[in-house]
């Protein structure tokens, strides 16, 4: 029977939750790297026991850890993230130029077919790549250098590159998203990039339809249909049917369209999940009820999923990288909260149960299905 491994990054360490294919009983290991912020952990699709973890600290900076045995043991690897050439400046919160400064790795995206290759999305926003299993990292400078970089401005969480999606049907195509610059696409393995924000509208910036400057929180795709993208923007849930060339709003009947994560069902490309929050100034669930919303129509029509989730006095947040799906049938859906709970549904979201309740604040959740 297949097994499931859930990789949870928290403010105070990493945790690995393991179960068999039934997803009823879970074993919890951790904390790994106790006391450190684990922004993201992710396994290689090509070699599931190869894991990468972003470990960081306001005190001691950035570390990258690698495991070759599914998280049993870890090895610190390269942590030198040096911007290519003269790093230049981006805009600071007050609109003045501010030097590009590396702060941390937000997201690690292992290659679909090579366990030694991975991309790293960092703050201040840039994309790095390793081809030697994390020993060294090299910037793909075309993203910052395509022209709009000096105009990028940080969101409340910093100027972070938090989403990296590789097109499984086109090895050259990569999507990234940056808060608060927007979404970008490369069609040549990351060498050159273009902004893909047409159709986004952000009332909180001087030009609501500007080419860049949008606070994109997360993008998701289904691997069988990579030209269709779903986006949770700061406000608004959006969809593109043409690889990001244009976007249209699909918030529909959501009670609020502010939120962070967005995910796509493993077997139903038009089934999408979001976790709406009351507002950007009150980043907790509406009415104190933790509800995942699911659309089975690719957007516009949404249903609340509440069974097993707290429906009173709940004021947690679910961060952008803290939701994931597994590829079992029925599809498993997982998310972690800033209150330290990790919830799982083994039936596509109909019913939920906590795997753990009292972890540190959850930053990220990833899932692996093991043979």
């Amino acid at each position: 029977m297949s097994g499931v491994r859930v990789l949870v990054g928290t403010r105070k360490g990493g945790f690995i939750l393991a179960s068999d294919g039934k997803r009823e009983r879970w074993e919890v290991s951790g904390p790994h790297f106790g006391g450190w912020e684990i922004y993201h952990m992710k396994g290689s699709p090509a070699e599931p026991d190869r894991l990468y973890a972003s470990q960081c600290s306001d005190w001691f900076g950035q570390q990258i850890q690698r495991s070759d045995d599914g998280g049993e043991t870890w090895e610190p690897v390269g942590n030198e993230f040096r911007y290519d050439g003269d790093a230049g400046t981006h805009q600071w919160y007050d609109g003045t130029p501010h030097p590009w400064e590396f702060k941390r790795v937000w997201h690690l995206e292992p290659s679909l077919d090579d366990p030694d290759t991975a991309l790293a999305g960092v703050e201040d926003a840039a994309l790095f790549r390793t081809t030697d299993a994390g020993a060294t990292w090299e910037e793909l400078p075309g993203l910052r250098g395509h022209g709009s970089g000096p105009g990028w401005q940080p969101g409340a969480g910093g100027l972070c590159l938090h989403t990296i999606l590789s097109d499984p049907g086109d090895p050259g195509r990569i999507f990234t998203a940056i808060s608060a610059a927007g979404a970008f696409r490369s069609d040549d393995c990351g060498t050159t990039w273009q902004p893909i924000n047409q159709g986004l509208r952000s009332e909180y910036i001087p030009d609501p339809t500007a080419e860049v400057g949008h606070c994109v929180h997360r993008i998701a795709m289904h691997p069988s249909r990579p030209s269709v993208l779903f986006m949770q923007k700061h406000w608004d849930v959006m969809r593109s049917d043409d690889g990001g060339e244009s976007w249209r709003e699909i918030s529909g009947d959501l009670p609020t369209d502010f939120g962070f994560p967005i995910e796509v069902h493993a077997h139903e490309p038009d089934t999408v999940y979001v976790v709406p929050l009351k507002s950007d100034s009150e980043r907790f669930p509406l009415e104190g009820k933790l509800r995942v919303y699911r659309s089975r129509t690719g957007g516009d029509e949404w249903e609340p999923l509440t069974e097993g989730l707290p429906q009173r006095d709940c004021y947690v947040n679910v961060l952008r990288d803290a939701m994931a799906v597994d590829s079992l049938d029925p599809c498993g859906v997982y998310f972690g909260t800033t209150g330290g709970q990790v919830y799982a549904s083994a039936d596509s979201g109909d019913r939920w149960a906590p795997i753990v309740r009292d972890l540190p604040s959850v930053l990220s959740v990833e899932v692996q299905v093991l043979p």
């Binding site: 790297f33 006391g35 450190w36 005190w59 001691f60 950035q62 570390q63 942590n79 040096r82």
Partner: protein, 127 residues
């Protein structure tokens, strides 16, 4: 011989227990001590000072012989030790200002050995 008291997170990262003992060529400076730490324990590269700028991580502090060296240039002689018998000559400490409470994290550089050369002592400003 330089004795280094690593904070717990860095001990875990370097996979060491207890203090480090380093032999550092004169002139002994903060810079050369950190160089030696990083050479002996590569996972610590970037943890005490930024890998690119080589600047001290802002939440860390350095002490030696009851002297705060945090804001001294790293290339300067490491410490002025009035009493070499008191053991630890250089520590590193740190605190999170937002917490408002000092939580010293000792690090560095001992001077406990009686075989300290006059030259080393001089370079440390110890004479």
């Amino acid at each position: 011989m330089i004795r280094v008291v690593l904070p717990p997170h860095l001990r875990a990262l370097a996979r060491v227990e207890g203090d480090l003992e380093l032999r550092v060529e004169a002139p002994v400076t903060l810079h050369s001590v950190i160089d030696a730490i990083e050479a002996l324990h590569p996972p610590l590269r970037g943890t005490i000072r930024d890998r690119v700028t080589q600047e001290r991580r802002p939440l860390l502090r350095f002490f030696a012989c009851q002297e705060d060296l945090t804001h001294k240039p790293q290339g300067r002689a490491a410490a002025r030790c009035r009493d070499v018998r008191d053991g630890t000559a250089l520590y590193r400490g740190g605190h999170r200002r937002r917490v408002g409470r000092a939580t010293p994290v000792r690090l560095l550089h001992g001077w406990p050995r009686q075989d300290t050369s006059a030259e080393e002592a001089d370079l440390l400003g110890n004479r």
